[in-house]
Amino acid sequence: MASLRYERRIAAPADVVWGVVTRPETIPEWFPGVVSCTVEGNIRVIQLSSGLEMPEEILVNDALQRRFVYRITAPLYRFHLASIDVIEIGENDSLCVYATTAEPDTLALIVGGGTNSALSEIQRIAESRVSA
């Protein structure tokens, strides 16, 4: 089992950052390599640019805590759990934390590497919404 965590300080109110990540159908906008997805209830299926398709189960989408938790249910993973937390630091200052725990370890590293790039996109979108 491997666990990875990336975080990003974002110059935007926490509610704005949360607005980027809370709608599960918008993941293609901020997760590089995810080209499309379908959402039915708490099941999201993402399509990757490599052609792979990965089903996910959304476990938590809590606006009060600003916490989004999901797991990849593709058989490739023996275990996967990911969480995105948006933490208010100041009026226009947030911390976004994207954590991944998975087995096999190598898959944690691969998807975790993707989450690091995703944070860059979340930051870009949130900060552009503030300046717009």
Partner: protein, 524 residues
């Protein structure tokens, strides 16, 4: 019209696999002839003993601590300097055919350009990184990629999957179900990463790389300048050359490497002289890096497995030599040979049984660090053949390519032009090279710096999870060329150790701008 450049690399090839370097297992007449016509280097070191940092150094002319791709799985920044870009700007047609690996292979999200470009099937200007000047990618106008297997999005794999799907199953499965380097054994001896592969030779990636290179060369005009990086994935494991070629070397006739004592206690005594992670890996207590199979214990390696791996490795080296021969014949038939500089090398070595180990990792000894390097300057330059004994580094390649093209090296290049002979090296004080290692993977951090001079190989282990900063290795190459006796704690070597430590400190504090170290985003 200037000089054309054919840059040939292999992957994970030992110095002693070439006939001209004393190798007796493989026949390498083509490379031996090039060496006789040009400059052969006796002591060429990589900047890193794994692929991505080393290859990034070839492209950038920088050490890993400068270019930022500090371990496998860390992508070279998309805007990193590239000698191919400089050559492109000089009007050179630029191509990279074969293994690139400046970016991670394991990329299901398709986030990296090498994989995306290959997925598209053809280079395209629709890619967002194309700015109309840098070539399609990193200064290369033309790219066709291959790696060690037939899975994934790269051009060779897609070609095999589309054109010869019946042969795909013949290849060794490079990674296991957990995406770790596969430990499964095969062949006659059960050696890891070995398989008898029924693929016809002409479909194997070695010939494919040569075929695609010949095809690209055929499209070049007589009076054009070009830089072609022909990059063979072999003889890197898996050792699964076409079974039709197995008769070239019978593993049962292969002598054991001189640094593989058959008696386990002797191997262990050698390992115990070195820093602690050597023995820890051998015993299966720690696998510090992704490049060695996680589920394989080196202590289980048998003498026959070493023989079989060496035999298959030698066969792969012979196939490469013959493939290079075909490409050189193409140059001759075009009437270009007189104006082509040919440079041959590899990215790092292979332990191949030394000290009872296979594969690679933070083990800075000749098996991984002493590389074949041949520069055959264009015959029209009337360069005197030479053998250079001074230590040189792959970090010098970028400056050398630019000199061939008649250009001075830009400020960002850290390596000096390769010396043409020992006197040239002496006059430019080229007397040492540095190799770096940094890895942080699943809670295991290892940081190593080594300096090689004509007389000594000195290594410091910086603080990490395996070392506390006090360990090191010092080998006196004059009386211990096999690097068996660690003099690090020997009082009679205190002065040598101090001098070499100062030189490593000078390397760490060298002037120049460093890229922000990249983020580890994949195992490889």
């Amino acid at each position: 019209m200037g000089r054309k450049i054919l840059f040939i690399t292999t992957d994970q090839q030992r110095y002693d696999t070439l006939g001209v370097n004393g190798g007796e297992l493989s026949r390498t007449p083509v490379l031996d002839r090039l060496a006789a016509q040009g400059i052969r280097y006796e002591r060429c070191q990589p900047t890193s003993v794994v692929c991505m940092p080393s290859r990034a150094s070839m492209l950038t002319g920088q050490f890993p601590s400068t270019h930022g791709a500090w371990m496998n799985g860390v992508a070279l920044a998309i805007d990193a300097p590239s000698v191919a870009e400089n050559l492109h700007d000089l009007g050179y047609a630029t191509a990279l055919i074969g293994k690139a690996h400046f970016e991670p292979f394991m990329d299901p999200f398709g986030r990296f350009a090498e994989n995306s470009l290959a997925s598209l099937g053809i280079p395209t200007i629709e890619q967002p990184w194309f700015d109309g000047r840098r070539g399609v990618h990193r200064g290369f106008d033309y790219l066709e990629f291959a790696t060690h297997g037939v899975m994934g999005p790269l051009h060779y794999a897609k070609w095999m999957q589309a054109q010869h799907p019946e042969a795909v199953a013949g290849f060794y499965q490079v990674v296991d179900g957990d995406l770790n380097v596969n430990a499964a054994g095969g062949g006659d001896t059960g050696a890891p990463q070995v398989k008898f592969n029924d693929v016809p030779r002409e479909w194997y990636h070695t010939d494919w790389v040569a075929d695609r290179t010949i095809e690209w060369l055929a499209q070049q005009e007589d009076n054009s300048d070009w830089f072609c990086w022909m990059s063979f994935p072999d003889p890197h494991h898996p050792w699964d050359p076409p079974a039709s070629e197995r008769g070239r070397v019978n593993w049962r006739d292969v002598p054991l490497p001189v640094n593989y004592p058959e008696e386990a206690s002797l191997r262990e005594a050698l390992l115990d002289q070195k820093a602690r992670h050597w023995r820890a890996w051998y015993d299966g207590r720690v696998v510090s890096n992704y490049e060695a199979p996680k589920k394989w214990v080196p202590a289980t390696l048998t003498a026959d497995q070493v023989r079989e791996v060496s035999a298959l490795n030698a066969i792969e080296v012979e196939l490469i030599d013959e493939a290079i021969g075909r490409v050189l014949k193409t140059l001759e038939s075009k009437g270009w040979d007189d104006d082509v500089d040919v440079i041959f090398t590899t990215d790092h070595g292979e332990l191949q049984g030394d000290f009872g180990l296979l594969f690679k990792g933070p083990y800075h000894v000749d098996g991984l660090m002493r590389l074949p390097l041949i520069w055959r300057p264009a015959p029209s330059t009337k360069c005197e053949p030479a053998v250079v004994h001074a230590p040189v580094s792959l970090v010098s390649l970028a400056a050398t390519f630019l000199e061939v093209a008649g250009q001075p090296a830009p400020d960002w290049v850290e390596g000096a032009v390769l010396p043409r002979n020992d006197e040239d090296a002496r006059s430019r004080s080229m007397d040492a090279t540095v190799t770096e290692w940094d890895s942080v993977l699943f809670g295991v951090a290892v940081h190593v710096r080594s300096i090689m001079t004509r007389d000594y190989l000195y290594t410091e282990y910086l603080p990490g999870t395996m070392h506390d900063g006090s360990e090191g290795e010092l080998y006196d190459l004059a009386d211990d060329p096999l690097q068996r006796v660690n003099r690090f704690e020997d009082p009679s070597y205190t002065s040598v150790r101090s001098t070499l430590s100062e030189r490593l400190a000078a390397h760490a504090n060298r002037p120049g701008e460093r890229a922000t170290p990249g983020v580890l985003v994949a195992p490889v």
